[in-house]
Symmetry: C2
Subunit: 238 residues, 2 copies
Amino acid sequence: MAGRAAVPEVIWARPERTGRGPKPAFTRADIAAAAVRIADAEGLDGVTMRHVAAELGCGTMSLYNYVPRKEDLYELMIDAIGAEHEMFEPTGDWRADMLRNADETRAIMRRHTWVPRLMPGVFGFSPNTLRYLEHCLACLEPLDVPAGTKTELVALLNGVVTTYTGNEIATAERTRSMPWTAEEENAVRMAYLGGQIATGAYPRLTAAFTEQSGPVDLEAVFRRALERVLDAFDPELR
Amino acid sequence: MAGRAAVPEVIWARPERTGRGPKPAFTRADIAAAAVRIADAEGLDGVTMRHVAAELGCGTMSLYNYVPRKEDLYELMIDAIGAEHEMFEPTGDWRADMLRNADETRAIMRRHTWVPRLMPGVFGFSPNTLRYLEHCLACLEPLDVPAGTKTELVALLNGVVTTYTGNEIATAERTRSMPWTAEEENAVRMAYLGGQIATGAYPRLTAAFTEQSGPVDLEAVFRRALERVLDAFDPELR
DNA sequence: GCGCACTACGTACGCTGTACGTAACTAGGA
DNA sequence: TCCTAGTTACGTACAGCGTACGTAGTGCGC
C-alpha cells in the first residue's frame, strides 16, 4: 500500500542546478528562448520536444533533464515573454498607465501570436508574471479602491486584451497550415454569412451588419472596450 | 501553371447530402453528438478521429466523408452545444436578460469543460452561434444605443464569461492526466507563491494577498465583473 | 579517491492526423 | 432499362508526436 501519491511538481519551485554531476549545458532561459524562437517562426505546433532539442543542439531526451513535461515548457515560454513588459515608472495617472500596459500586452501578443492559445492552460504565477502584477498594482496606487478590487481590475483588463487580441490572431493564423490564405477563407465565410442573412432568419443581426458602412475598425473596438472597463472601476464616474 | 488555388472549405457551406451514391450512415448532428459525448467524458484530448469513429461504430477514415479536417469536427462540437442555449422571450429588462444569458453560457461551459480551450480557434459564425447572437440582440432591444454598440456589448460580455469560466476550469482540469489531484497541485503552487511573497520582492501583491481573509469567492468575482461590464454600457449610469 | 547523483541521449512504444487506394453502392442520363 | 460516374466505406500505411526506459559518462562531496 502506501498511496505512493506522486508529489506535484511546479517548475518554478524546482532548483535550476543541484550541484552534483556534470554542469548542465543550458539554462532554463536558453531553453525558453529556443522554444519562443521556434514558436515565433513556425507557430506553436512547431514547438515539439525534438525540434526544441535540435534548436539547442542536444538530444531530444536531454530536454527532459530540464523540463519534466512539455506543459512545463509552455510555462517557461509564457514567463520568458513576460520579461518583455516594460516596467515603467508609474506616472500617477492610473488610467493612462493601465492603457499603456494593455497596449504593451497587445503588442507582445502580436509579436508572439501563440500566446493567447496558451493562456487558459497556464497557471499565472511565474516569476515574471508576479513582477508584472506587482507593476500593475504600482500603477494603480493612486486609485482609491480596496486592493482586492485592484487585482480584479487587472484580471478583467488582461482578460479583455487576451480575448480581443487572441480572436484577431486566431482569424489570421488559422490558415497557417492550410493551402489557402486567410483572406480567401474569410471571403468564403463572409459569403456564407451573407447567404444566411439573406434568409431573413436573423433580422436584428442583419440590421447590425447593414448599418455599418465600411469594414470594422478592430483597433477602435479594442480601445473602446478598454475604456469601458476602466470606466467601470473609476470612482469619479459613479 | 494555373494557380490551382485550393478553395477554402467552410463546413457550414458544404451540403450535408449530395444525392448520388449510398446514403450516408450518419448526420452531422450524430457526429457532433458523439464527439461531445467523448469530450464530456474524457476531455478534449479523448476526441480523436479513431475514437469518434469507434463511438459511431464506423471505420476511422469514414469520418472524413463528413468532416474534411479535425478542426471542422471542433466547429461541429461548438455549434452543437450552442443548441443548449435557452432562447427565452426577452423580458424588457436588458440587464437581467443579459445576466441570464451569461449565467447560461457559464453553466454550459461547466457542463462541457472543453469549450474554453476551443473558443479562440473557432470562428464564430456557425448556425447556432448566429441564432444565439440574434437572441442577444433581441434581449438588447430596449437598450437605446446603436446596433454596433450592442454587438460590442455581446462580444465583451461573452469574452468575460469565457475568460473567467475558462480560467476556473483550466485550474481544475489541468490535473486530469496527472498522477496527483488538483488540490495537491494547488497546495504546491500556493506554497511556492507564499515563498515568493516572503522574499518581500512584491510588497503590493503581498498586501493584496494578506488583506483578504478567507478563500476567494470566484462566483462573486464573476458576478461583479459582469455587473461592471453592463454598467459600462448603461446610458442611465453615465 | 571513491561513490553516487547527475547529465546525456539512443531506442522503442503507443498514439496521432490523414493520404491513398480499392470495393460496394446508387441516382441520373441514354 | 442499363450504364456509368459520383459517393460512401474503410483498411493500410506513413510521418510525426510525447515520453518511458536503459545505459554510458561525468565530476562534486565525503
